[in-house]
């Protein structure tokens, strides 16, 4: 199986060499573009609006300091000095030259990174909770299972030509932070009534042009049966998923058209056959991966002057109020470093910022870094006595914006500024909304708020899951933005509902402003979030705010 350690990897070097030869054959005319395109896509190479784009897999968002420094090297040497964190915990480089990409893949191979299966109709990067192994509410660390799935799925011969792309998410917390219900397969780690660990298995979720929440296909799957059961799901889908229409090819449509019960019967029958073939080697590997992801040697020390610093420094206090998450280890916290500073493109990180994070992870963070699906970076394990030092270094690099989970922590796809599929821009809309509410000084008063923006119906910005979602479209040659309300990617998964007619670009900020004003008037307490108010009062007052002329 594929070796995933963050070190030089001969197999990945071999794969990079294969791609180098494919590029040479494309340039000398031996391969046509039609022949070359699937080969480059298998290596994460897209052709976008202004340039090629290389998407590098960051397995379940987990990355070591050395790997982060390699991303910085790629940004500096072969791109324009930065990369873009994606909503699937990966990184995209927006400006590589085709002729340089083999060298980039070589550099990645030297630290065990690659771009395999970051495109194509294959099993994509497995995603999970950015706070895995750290969260206070965790039932079990999802990373060993995510890694087992990755090693099994990388170059899995049976699943290289699925009807469509396939995304698996694993969540280990009591609270789901991996958006299980919006994936082709979602796995929640659970205990049965005997206290044995296993999985609740969801299938058939997805966003895109037909947003659907997944359904539970099995309430409890024993821990040891993970791979045969997942194999059974994908084998059943591989046979019955539609190949006649790319827009109806995802498993969510297969489940919706054929019914969950039909799929479940096929999966169970296939599962019985497949389980016979598994020899137990997968369980040996899982045991080794649990050791690999054992908790670091946490320090058992007092918090030092943490509380005094908080009391004396309002900026630090504000940052600790918003950007820290509860850690399972006393004396520790998880730090969210948002890439949503004023005027910043959501998720863009410079090479210098990447290097700083690598240094901070080594000095203060047990050598661990995560990319979150909100396009931020998490230092999962920081002792509270070190938080002020971490804060000061982040602040000097423009990375200490105290807005994690607030209205300016906006998720946005690259949109038509980069993407060839986009129908409108996302980034300027995100920048304008963030700037507006910062200027009004309302961010903290509004509290937890989730805006998500996609520049086309494919929904890479997960707009359906935003409390407010924004979808950019082309209406008769002009950018136009549809607004959805009431989505939720966290507590109670919900697909946002389209509020009504779209808005031209310059009317989006005033429209959102009216919704926020309505919310601030309607909420019963400052603790009641927008989504809580929405669920209590319904969509009507917010529709009225959006479309005052109709009211």
């Amino acid at each position: 199986m594929f070796d995933a350690r963050p070190q030089h990897n001969e197999y990945l070097r071999h794969r990079a060499q294969q791609f180098r030869q494919q590029v040479e054959r494309r340039l000398d005319g031996s391969l046509t573009e039609d022949e070359f395109r699937p080969l480059r896509l298998m290596n994460g190479v897209y052709l976008q609006l202004h340039a090629y784009m290389l998407r590098v897999a960051i397995p379940y968002g987990t990355i070591s300091p050395d790997q982060m420094r390699t991303l910085a090297l790629l940004a500096e040497k072969w791109d324009k000095g930065y990369g873009h964190w994606t909503t699937r915990q990966n990184i995209q480089f927006n400006w590589p030259k085709l002729v340089d990409i083999p060298d980039m893949l070589d550099a990645l191979a030297d630290v065990g990174l690659h771009a395999i299966q970051t495109s194509g109709n294959t099993i994509r990067n497995v995603t999970t909770d950015a706070f895995a192994g750290a969260a206070a509410d965790e039932i079990a660390d999802p990373r060993p299972y995510a890694e087992l799935l990755r090693q099994w799925s990388t170059d899995h011969a049976e699943f290289q030509f699925l009807p469509r792309k396939f995304k698996i998410a694993v969540s280990g917390g009591k609270k789901d932070r991996a958006v299980i219900a919006a994936h082709d397969i979602g796995l929640r780690l659970v205990s049965n009534d005997k206290g044995e660990l296993g999985y609740q298995v969801w299938i058939g979720g997805g966003l895109g042009r037909t947003p659907l929440l997944g359904q539970v296909v099995r309430e409890y799957l024993p821990e040891a049966d993970l791979l045969p059961y997942i194999e059974a799901i994908i084998a059943a889908y591989n046979l019955s998923g539609r190949r006649d229409n790319k827009y109806k090819a995802r498993i969510k449509i297969t489940v919706a058209e054929r019914g969950l019960e039909v799929m479940r019967d096929e999966i169970e029958a296939e599962f019985q056959r497949r389980r016979e073939v598994f020899s137990g080697a997968d369980q040996d590997l899982l045991a080794a991966l649990k050791t690999l992801y054992a908790a670091p040697a946490f320090r058992n020390e007092p918090e030092g002057d943490y509380e005094e610093r908080r009391a004396a420094n309002p900026g630090f206090r504000s940052w600790t109020d918003t950007n820290l998450s509860a850690h399972k280890q006393a004396g520790y916290a998880s730090v969210t470093v948002t890439f949503k500073a004023p005027g910043q493109t959501p998720g863009d990180a410079s090479a210098e910022q990447m290097r700083l994070l690598a240094d901070l992870a080594e000095r203060f963070g047990h050598h661990d870094l995560r990319i979150s699906h909100e396009q931020n970076v998490v230092l999962p394990h920081v002792h509270k006595s070190d938080l002020f030092a971490v804060y000061q270094e982040l602040k000097a690099a423009g990375l200490a914006t105290a807005n994690a989970g607030l209205i300016s922590d906006i998720v946005a796809c690259p949109g038509m500024d980069y993407c060839t599929l986009a129908t409108a821009r996302s980034i300027p809309i995100a920048q304008e909304i963030a700037a507006h509410f910062r200027a009004r000084g309302l961010e903290e008063e509004i509290g937890r708020f989730n805006i998500r923006i996609s520049g086309c119906i494919n929904a890479c910005g997960h707009h359906h899951l935003g409390h407010i979602g924004i979808l950019g479209l082309d209406r008769a040659g002009v950018e136009n933005y549809q607004i959805t309300l009431g989505g939720d990617g966290y507590d109670i998964p919900a697909i946002g509902q389209r509020a009504g007619a779209g808005f031209p670009a310059e009317e989006v900020v005033p429209a959102i402003d009216r919704v926020i004003n309505a919310y601030l008037e309607l909420r019963e307490t400052p603790e009641e979030r927008f989504i809580d108010t929405y669920r209590r009062v319904g969509v009507a007052p917010f529709k009225a705010a959006l479309y005052p002329a109709d009211a």
């Binding site: 005319g29 046509t32 573009e33 085709l98 002729v99 821009r425 300027p428 082309d474 040659g477």
Partner: protein
């Protein structure tokens, strides 16, 4: 490959693609490729445009995905984009000044120093 219009004097078109090796946007002029959209050839005749597009498709050793797209004739006679997508392909992304817009400033600086 033409995108929903017929080249005519009222609705001229340009042929554009991405450079195979580097990936940047290029436009066709006299059967060759330029990175400067202001140099693009305006096609006002359907048959000539279709022949030129066949020529562009045949140049797969240089460009990827050539297509004919509607444009406008600007006041100076040079082509201008008819749709915002093509406008972004001319200028680069709106969040940074390092796409084509920066290259133009550089090329104009160089031109003024000649």
């Amino acid at each position: 490959m033409s995108k929903g219009f017929t080249p005519s004097p009222a609705t001229p078109g340009v042929i554009t693609a991405n450079d195979l090796r580097m990936g940047h946007c290029v436009w066709m002029r006299d059967g060759k490729w330029t990175a400067d959209p202001r140099e693009a050839e305006l096609f006002e005749d359907e048959a000539i445009a279709e022949l030129a597009l066949l020529d562009a498709i045949a140049q797969a050793d240089q460009v990827v995905g050539p297509y004919l797209v509607e444009a406008k004739r600007g006041p100076d006679g040079r082509p201008e984009p008819a749709h915002f997508r093509e406008a972004f392909r001319r200028t680069g992304p709106s969040n940074y000044f390092h796409g084509k817009q920066a290259e133009f400033v550089q090329s104009e600086l160089e031109a003024s120093n000649v």
